[in-house]
Structures are given as C-alpha cells and as structure tokens.
C-alpha cells in the first residue's frame, strides 16, 4: 500500500496531543477504539473527508448502543478496547515458517479437501514466495470483466476510483446505526469487496473472493457492497471451503446488496472459520449483517449459505422486497458440532405488490452444539398478494445438542399467503443401521444422510461449490455419531 506520509501527518498529527502515540509508519495500531483510531484507519486508507465523517458518526452512535443479548447464544463478554482495529497485511516473518509448524489437524482437513500444497501454505498463513496460479488467473479475469464494464475491486480501491457510486450506495441498505455490530463495522471497517454491474450486463463469470484473497488481507471488519444496475445479473461467491486460520477472534462484517429494476443477484457463501477445538476453546465469533434491497420492480436476490465454521455465528441475510414483483430467497445449511453455537435465519420484508419469498433452512447439530433458526416474514400493508413459503428443518445428532426455531410472522395485508413448515428429526439409528447393513461405513453413511438432508440447499449452489460443500459437511461432522 502506498502512503503519502505528509498528508497523513496533517490528518493525524493532532491526535498525538491525546496520547495517540503509535508511529504513523507502523502498520498496526495499538489496541483500543477511539475517534483517533478511526481517524488513523481512514488516513491509512487515504479516504475522503466524507467517509471519515461517516465512520465517526457511526462510532458515536455505537457508543450509545449495547451488545445485543436477544440471540440464543452464550457469549463471553467482549472487551472492545482490547482489540486492535487495524493491522496491515502480515509480514512474512510473523506466520509459521513451514507447514511443520501448523496444527496437524488443520493439515489433515486440507488433505481431505484435496487442496494443493501451495494453497495449503497460504491458507495456513505460511509465508509463500512462489506466485500463485490464482494471481495470473485473477489477472485474466480482470480483463474479461473490464470488457463487460463490470467493476470488481477491493472496497478501498472503489472509494478512490468510484467515489460517486460508493457515496450513493454505502449504508443505503444497512444504515451505519442499524445494529451494534453494523455500527462497529461502519466505524472501523478495513476492506472488502465492491461490485458494480452496469445496466443490462450479465456478469460473464462467477465473482469469487477466493481469487482475490491473496491480493489483500480483508481482515476482521469486512465491508462488501454489490450493486446490480437495471436488468443486470451477477453471481457472487464468498468464502472458501478450506478452514481459515485467523488471529482475530471477532469478525463483524457487513454486506449490502442493491438490485435495481429487473436485476438479479445470487450471493453464495461457504463459511468455515476456525470453530475452536473440541472443548470449545478458541474459535471465531462471527457477527454478520447481510441485507439486500430489491429496490426495483421485478428484481431478485437469492442468498445461499453453508455455515460450518466459527465458534459463534450471528447472521441473518435478509431481503427488503420494495419493488413490485420482486423475489427474495434464502437457502441455508448451518452445521454446529462440539461447542459451536449458531443463531441464524433471515428476514423477508414485503413492501411491493406481488412480492414473493422462499426460505429453506436446514440446521444440523451434533455433540454439545446449540443452534437456532430465527426468521421474520413481514407483510406490509402495501404488499398486495405477497407470498412466502418457509421450510425449516433441523437434524439432531446425539442427545446433548439442541435445535430451536423462532419464526416471526407479521402480516398486515389480508391478501397475503404465508406458509410455514418445520420439522425436527434425529439422525435415526434406523437410518444408520440400514446403511451399515448394506456395507457402508458409519462415516460415509452419516455423510450420505446429512447430504441428503441438505440437498435442496446444495442444489442452489454453483456446481463446483456444491461438490466442495458436500465434502466439507462430511469432514465437519466426522465422529459426530457414536
């Protein structure tokens, strides 16, 4: 990253008066959150004044808020002043020197997923000198995208190159003061992805952060903004199936999607952050705010997520169906094993006429894990002939885990049709025995049964992602039965 030190001194020089002693040349800021920290981050990123103001406003609002406690989660108190809010990409000396220094369990998982050695090193944070294949792949893709007029770049680059778009849409779906974690993210976000699909363009390829991750370390407060202009179409893939190590325990991302008239966005996630060990030690706290605004008529947004990682997941990808005839979809598989906890679901807010939404949620809990589905279907007065279908299934493995369902329905228009179906089942001893009796090993049998349970969601994933997700599910649940 290039720095214009003169400029920065101007901006943050004053902060020194307040005991802000971090050297401007250093790449990490001391732990703690204050207006100075935010100014430092903004300066580091060479942001315009309006964005710094936007961050500070979010911060000031955040100070008045409290951690949400309504979720069915048991969260240890988080000391927000003990966290460092900015660190530049790690230098090579910080990480493990070779794969020998990496947790063998992690390596085992990489092996099972069939990840090439070079990539294993990258994912585990080992310093790699060799240039990745994906870098050249990414370059080729960039050319192709540019030809189509698609903008796909790091968020910080978009702030510089396309300030008018960022200014127009940032916070227009998830306002800075929306909730505790969104406010925190708005104040201190470091980077993320920016996508703009121009009118009438069908994005020529699946957009995946996977190709980008070695170019920039997005860090713990990721910010993503995707805008699909009129009659455009884009499919975006986030995350990767390989478990990612991260030094930062707290992750609070914000994702905003805007679909204008006749536009369609398909957003697929595979989340596999470190879940902590078998005893519940360590693991990522993942507090994500994801929301889509179907702003135009006939627009469509589809969320598909496979959540297998993190110690705690707090996440409700939602759709605001403003445009007439707009469509919102949510397909989710969430797996919790050992001591993992997840409170996840969606909100479908029907405002426009003839809007439809579909929710298919599959929750799997094993060992001592706790999981909740939390969903809101809201039919506003104006939403004539709105329709929703919700199906919410839970699968329990063993008798120490839990599954909870919290569906909320608010219907203010009598022409609406809202359907809700829910089931809870245990992975049957009978099902398992049936497979064993046919000669299929327990591990493979569990894998087969669980993947069968999740089939409706997996078929929504892009092909190669679906195959990986299936494998991942099996690995995540290894040893969960018996």
């Amino acid at each position: 990253m290039s720095t214009n030190s003169e400029n920065m001194d101007d901006l943050v020089g004053k902060d020194y008066e307040h005991g802000f002693v971090t050297d401007i040349d250093s790449d990490t800021v001391a732990a703690g959150l204050s207006e100075e920290t935010i100014a430092f981050i903004s300066a580091k990123k060479e942001e315009p004044e309006w964005l710094l103001e936007w961050r500070l406003k979010a911060y000031r609002h955040w100070l008045t808020m409290e951690d949400p406690t309504w979720a069915h989660l048991d969260i240890e108190h988080i000391d927000y002043q003990a966290i460092s809010y900015y660190s530049a990409p790690k230098s090579k000396d910080d990480g493990p020197k070779s794969l020998d220094e990496v947790d063998p369990k992690l390596l085992e998982t990489y092996e099972k997923l069939g990840i090439p050695l070079q990539e294993q090193k990258f994912l585990a944070g080992v310093a790699v000198d060799a240039v990745f294949d994906s870098v050249s792949v990414a370059t080729t893709f960039k050319g192709k995208l540019a030809d189509a007029g698609v903008i796909f770049c790091p968020f910080s680059e978009a702030v510089k190159e396309h300030p008018e778009l960022v200014k127009k849409y940032l916070g227009s779906v998830v306002p800075a003061a929306d909730n505790f974690f969104a406010a925190l993210n708005s104040a201190v976000f470091t980077d993320g992805s920016f996508v703009y699909i121009p009118k009438g363009v069908r994005c020529p390829m699946e957009l995946s952060t996977y190709f980008r991750i070695n170019a920039s370390n997005t860090g713990q407060f990721e910010r993503t903004l995707i805008i699909a202009d009129e009659a455009s179409h884009v499919s975006y893939l986030e995350g990767c199936t390989a478990p990612m190590r991260d030094e930062n325990q707290l992750h609070a991302a914000v994702v905003e999607l805007v679909a204008l008239e006749d536009a369609e966005i398909k957003y697929s996630t595979v989340q596999n952050w470190y879940p902590g060990d078998e005893n519940g030690v360590g693991g990522i706290y993942n507090f994500v705010t994801k929301r889509a605004d179907c702003r135009g008529n006939n627009s469509k947004v589809s969320w598909t997520q496979v959540e297998t990682g993190s110690a705690i997941t707090w996440k409700y990808p939602s759709c605001i169906l403003k445009g007439d005839n707009s469509v919102g979809e949510f397909y989710s598989v969430a797996v919790t094993n050992n001591h993992q906890q997840a409170d996840t679901g969606t909100k479908m807010i029907h405002i426009g006429k003839n809007t439809t939404s579909t929710i298919i949620s599959k929750g799997i809990s094993a060992k001592k894990a706790q999981q909740a589905y939390r969903g809101l279907v809201k039919i506003s007065k104006s939403a004539e002939n709105a329709r929703n279908y919700t199906q919410c299934d839970s699968l329990l493995m063993g008798d120490q885990c839990g599954a909870h369902t919290f569906p909320y329905i608010e219907a203010k228009n009598s022409s609406a049709t809202v359907e809700h179906e829910a089931t809870t089942s245990k992975i049957g001893d009978d099902q398992l025995f049936y497979c064993l009796q046919r000669g299929i090993k327990e591990e493979d049998a569990v894998n087969m049964i669980v993947n069968g349970f999740c089939k409706e969601v997996f078929k929504e994933l892009p092909m190669e992602f679906a195959v990986e997700a299936q494998k991942l599910l099996g690995i995540t649940l290894e040893g969960a039965v018996g």
Binding site: D429, F433, L436, R438, I440, M448, N451
Partner: protein, 250 residues
C-alpha cells in the same frame, strides 16, 4: 454355513431369545415361523448386528467366523444381508446412489475392483428385471414415498444386486398384496442357488406357498420348539400356533 448355539439375547433388559439353536447349510432355505413376540425379528436383528440387542450367552458361527465379533458393516462385507421388515426412508439420498455405495464398499473390502458407473448400471439393469423394479424408483430418494410393496421389492432388488451368501428376509411378505407377493417370491426364488442360504422369517404360511423352504422351524418364547419340513407350515396354518405351543409345553 451358519451355526447358532444356545443363543440368548436381551433388548432393554428383557430377555427375548432364550437358548436358540439353528444349523443352516449352504444352499438351504429355512423358514422361521412363530407367533408375534416370539423373537423372530430379534433373531434377524441379532444376526445383522443391530445396536441395542445384547447377546448374553451362546455363539454364532458363520462361514468359519465368529459372527458376533463383527461390526454390522463387516457382516455385510462377509455376505450377510438383511431384508428389513420396515425399510427406512432416507430423504434426499438417491436410491441407486446408496446401492452403488453399498456395492463398492463391499467390493472394496473384499479386495475387488470397484465398479464404475457403466458397469454398475448394466448390473442394475440386469437385476431390475428379477423383481420387475420400476425404473423411476431407482432415482427417487431411498424408500421415500414408496408403497409398502415397492419398499419390499426394493429390498429384494438390493439383495439381487449385492448377491449375499446369507440372506435374512424379515417378514418380507407382510403388507404385500397377492400380486406383489408373487413378484417378490419369484425374485427370491431366482436368487436361490447352491451357495446361498436364506432365512425366511414369517408369521404366515402364505409366503411358503411361493417360496418352498427346505426346513420349517417354529419359534416360541425365544426358542425353537419344533422343526420339520414344509408340511409343518401347513399344519400350523390349519391348527394355529396355540396348538403347537400347548403340545410342546405338555
């Protein structure tokens, strides 16, 4: 082939099998009959190795091995097949996919080459004819939405594909109408050969009109109380189980 000696087994602390003896040679078909609660299905489940069935005494020798020492899947690899009384539904799992996984798991553990998609498909096509299996059932989820008859037919179809050495058919006739019973029985008959032993667990004599057993055993209160040829089944049909239970007790 199979030698059961003084077998005692418990389910949830209740003793169900109380000293069962049975000897089956290769190629023989034995029918086990008996009133409800006599322990017929328990015997089938103990032989297949189901969890929750505790063997407290006795031995089962199968093909020179101690069967009770083997895990359920190891028994399957060794050629033991159970046609379930109530085949379970497994939503989202393709019927033919499960079968392919089973075939290849068994082959792999026997040190044989796994079948590829083409080889497997031609095997399936050939065996489907035996039980007049409808093609659309292959690509549905395992047993999901199958009628009672279709479920039982699917069991025999699996048996045909897996070619076991010892097949235990647990009340395969229950819930079948006469046409389905005929089809299933023809399928089983076509699978009889000199090496394959079959145990037919059934409540009714009806099945034995279609599948002629070599021996018939009457199970009552956890023991075999009478053995004989096919004529024993007819006698039972005529006089009922009470007759034999009382005669033997006297």
């Amino acid at each position: 082939m199979l030698n059961i000696q003084d077998l005692h087994a418990k389910v949830e602390d209740k003793e169900i099998l109380k000293g069962l003896n049975l000897n089956i040679k290769a190629g023989e078909v034995h029918a086990i009959m008996g009133p409800n609660g006599s322990g017929k299905s328990t015997l089938a489940n103990v032989l297949a190795g189901k969890n929750g069935y505790e063997v407290t005494k006795g031995s089962v020798e199968y093909d020179g091995k101690d069967l009770l020492e083997l895990a359920p899947e190891e028994r399957a690899w060794a050629g033991v097949f159970l046609a379930f009384q109530y085949p379970v539904e497994i939503p989202g799992v393709n019927n033919v996919y499960l079968l392919k996984a089973a075939v290849n798991a068994i082959r792999k553990n026997r040190g044989e080459q796994e079948l590829d998609a083409v080889e497997f498909l031609s095997l399936v096509k050939e065996k489907m004819k035996l039980v007049k299996m409808k093609e659309d059932l292959l690509n549905r989820s395992v047993n999901e939405g199958f009628s009672g008859g279709e479920k039982k037919r699917n069991e025999i179809f699996q048996m045909a594909v897996l070619e076991p050495k010892l097949a235990i058919l647990d009340e395969t006739d229950s819930g079948l109408d006469i046409d389905a019973l005929k089809i299933v029985s023809e399928g089983v008959n076509s699978l009889r050969n000199e090496e394959r032993s079959i145990i037919l667990v059934t409540h009714y004599q009806r099945l034995l009109d279609y599948i002629k057993p070599d021996y018939v055993h009457v199970l009552s209160n956890g023991k075999i109380i009478k053995s004989g040829g096919p004529e024993l089944a007819l006698e039972l049909e005529e006089k009922g189980y009470d007759w034999i239970v009382e005669t033997e007790a006297a």
